[in-house]
């Protein structure tokens, strides 16, 4: 039993923090926020790929770094803390994980080296309409190896080179890999609550595609991909939530009201203690998810759902109570509070919202014969 990062992993995490403090200060995040024509920070993306992070868990034979998932989790925590405005989650937590775990040898050969080098940017296109996703009810369809339909919103869909698209074919729901440079594809960027990450509407009109995994297994496959990604997202959430607590504490220690720093009032002290408690519980659940992901444990579905729920709740809470602690200043554009308020919602929705994950969790517990 060992329930913490190892010394080597802590070292890697410290190095990642130093790197991001230099290369991804909040001005870099604002560079994307304030420039409508800049979907992400390309310089940072190439630097991150150069560090070997996009290929962190990709084996060396495909150009990757060959690290484990715990190391990737440590990197994810730092990227979340830094609000990195790059398509890392879509490419690494979702696309690369899916290809690594469920792709054919040919698909791995074709895509993983590009992910490791930063040339390939991936995305996951599932949503078609408002409301919770049901893969059985997809309108997108594949006939004779050609995909048709519209997906919206697709995180990083406007900048991605490749997509995994959920669609139905004669065998039922499936997942299909699409080269977005192919024919019949139209993309447009759409405005979202978090402009530091880009999002698109993608339409496919008879676009060539290739199946991921076995025919008719789309629902199970998507579920497994979401579980893996949820753990990695949870580390970004834990990183962001921790940063919010740092901000809130710093402000509470410098802002005076009624002749005292506001951090000396119990109303603020207890609020910050509440954030701390939620953050620590979320960290513990994320660690458990990391272990399940890294070791291929059978408990991954419940571990991932718990990490997802705790991570989403902790980050949303920390972000909005950080803003509250800042008072009126917190509701200005120049204060950084809204950057986390936005990102917390972005991370909390991109893989499906809390109602979906709570239901996934309870169904898993029921299937475990927990009764």
């Amino acid at each position: 039993m060992n329930f913490d990062y190892s010394h080597e992993q802590k070292f890697l995490k410290d190095e990642a923090r130093k790197f991001l403090e230099e290369r991804c200060p909040v001005t870099a995040v604002r560079g994307v926020l304030d420039d409508g024509g800049k979907p992400f920070d390309r310089g940072l993306w190439q630097a991150v790929a150069g560090m070997g992070w996009t290929g962190a868990v990709i084996p060396e034979k495909w150009g990757g770094t060959g690290l484990g998932h715990i190391e990737l989790c440590a990197i994810a925590e730092e990227l979340g803390r830094a609000l990195a405005p790059i398509p890392f989650a879509s490419t690494v937590y979702v696309f690369a994980e899916a290809i690594l775990a469920f792709g054919s040898d040919a698909q791995r050969e074709a895509l993983l080296p590009g992910i490791a080098s930063g040339a390939v940017i991936g995305c996951l296109a599932t949503s078609e309409r408002e409301g919770a996703l049901s893969i059985e009810g997809m309108a997108a369809n594949v006939v004779g190896g050609r995909l048709s339909g519209a997906k919206v919103p697709v995180t990083d869909g406007d900048v991605a080179t490749h997509a995994i698209v959920a669609a139905c074919d004669e065998a039922g729901p499936g997942l299909f890999i699409v080269d977005l440079a192919g024919e019949g594809i139209a993309r447009e960027a759409i405005a979202t609550l978090d402009p530091t990450r880009s999002v698109a509407r993608i339409t496919f009109a008879g676009s060539p595609c290739e199946r991921l995994g076995a025919a008719g297994e789309g629902a199970a496959l998507l579920s497994a991909i979401l579980d893996r990604a949820a753990v990695l997202f949870a580390f970004e959430q834990v990183g962001g939530a921790g940063r919010c607590l740092e901000y809130a504490k710093a402000y509470a220690m410098e802002r005076y009201a009624f002749g005292r720093v506001i951090g000396s009032y119990q109303a603020i002290k207890h609020k910050l203690a509440d954030i701390y408690v939620r953050n620590e519980l979320a960290r513990s659940s994320a660690y458990y998810g990391a272990w399940a992901l890294n070791s291929g444990a059978a408990e991954l579905p419940e571990a991932a759902a718990a990490a997802r729920i705790a991570g989403t709740q902790a980050y949303d809470f920390a972000a909005r109570e950080n803003l509250q602690t800042h008072g009126g200043m917190g509701f200005t554009w120049e204060a950084d509070c809204h950057l986390h308020l936005r990102r917390a919602r972005q991370l909390g929705l991109a893989l499906g919202g809390l109602p979906l994950w709570r239901e996934r969790l309870i169904r898993t517990l029921e299937s475990r014969n927990a009764l």
């Binding site: 119990q266 002290k269 207890h270 203690a273 519980l281 513990s284 890294n294």
Partner: protein, 410 residues
Amino acid sequence: MDFNDTPEEAEYRARVRAWLNANAPAARGVAHGHEDSESIAADKAWQARKAEAGYACITWPREWGGAGGTTAQSVIFNEEESRLGLGSAVFGIGLGMCLPTILAVGSEADKARFVAPAMRGEQVWCQLFSEPSAGSDVAASRTRAVPADDGSGDWIINGQKVWTSGAHFSDFGLLLVRTDPDVPKHKGLTMFWIDMKAPGIEVRQIHQADGGSGFNEVWFTDVRVADSQRIGEIGKGWNVALVTLMNERLSVGGEAGPGWRALMELAASLPGVEGHGSALQDGGFREKLADWYVASEGLRLTRLRSLTALSRGETPGSEASIGKIISARHSQELAYEALDRLDQYGIVANGDVASLAGGFQRNFFWGAAMRIAGGTDEILKNIIAERVLGLPLDIRVDRDVAFRDIPRGA
């Protein structure tokens, strides 16, 4: 990061299981406040058997009779023992708080005298800190110890303690008293051990809000103690108390009574609103159950993180305070939900705490107690804010005032 046992841990677990299968008595499930002489005798016998086999106080040093084992071994044994429903509160305060204090700051004579008998379950300990006017503000203790005027060096103690778990069946107690009211409150305290059968001590069980009587008032009238019973220096009692309280936060905090699994089981057995399926199929219930599962698991895993720090020789921080903030509130919330799902029947008293409904009804009351006992929610949040986050201490008007001059209520 690894949740699997190492080969050594797996071997130890197998050994523990085999030993428990051969030696463990049947679980009795006696709740706090419902101990009787028979249940206490059974708990003592079980403790003695564990001690004999090297499974009591696994991490304590060998020189004092402990097993000199690792934190991981201790966790494994506790997991396997509690799987059989054999955890007992009778020794929790002694072995979890009082004896660790004696091991840390007691004299060699005290250690030689007390550690082994406590570990074998022969002697039960209680903790005499809280007073009617010193609850959250425990350093405001008024119970007085004054030097005897016969030149013997003994101390004479007068006053009253309250909320003392198990005082009515304890052999010894750890007693915090005021030896100097002329200095600020934290500086005038001294710690003693005390024989609970000494003349002048009277134990009165408290009639609790839930009808039970697990806590006591302990009255001291001219109780004479020898100076050799002092633990630590005169006036340094607060430092000793902090050692005890630190251990308290480590040992309290596990969830008591029925948890998410029991609630899930109960809901599956009850009809849904207006007869649609079971209560477990109700969307609102499922959402809450998911959140409780997540918090409960988060808490269990956070404890494992603290234990990891311990096993690396690091001191776990005040994050241990998280445990009770979450678990006490949890017990209360789950109990209210269970009673809501029982609907009108939720109000019908079910005295069988082993039943699902009875267990939740007990926690309807006990949750309220747990949010207060061992540090209120509010005090624990202050501890996190001040000691973990480093926020300013509350303004204290009594800090630099002689204890006898501090304003007080009636």
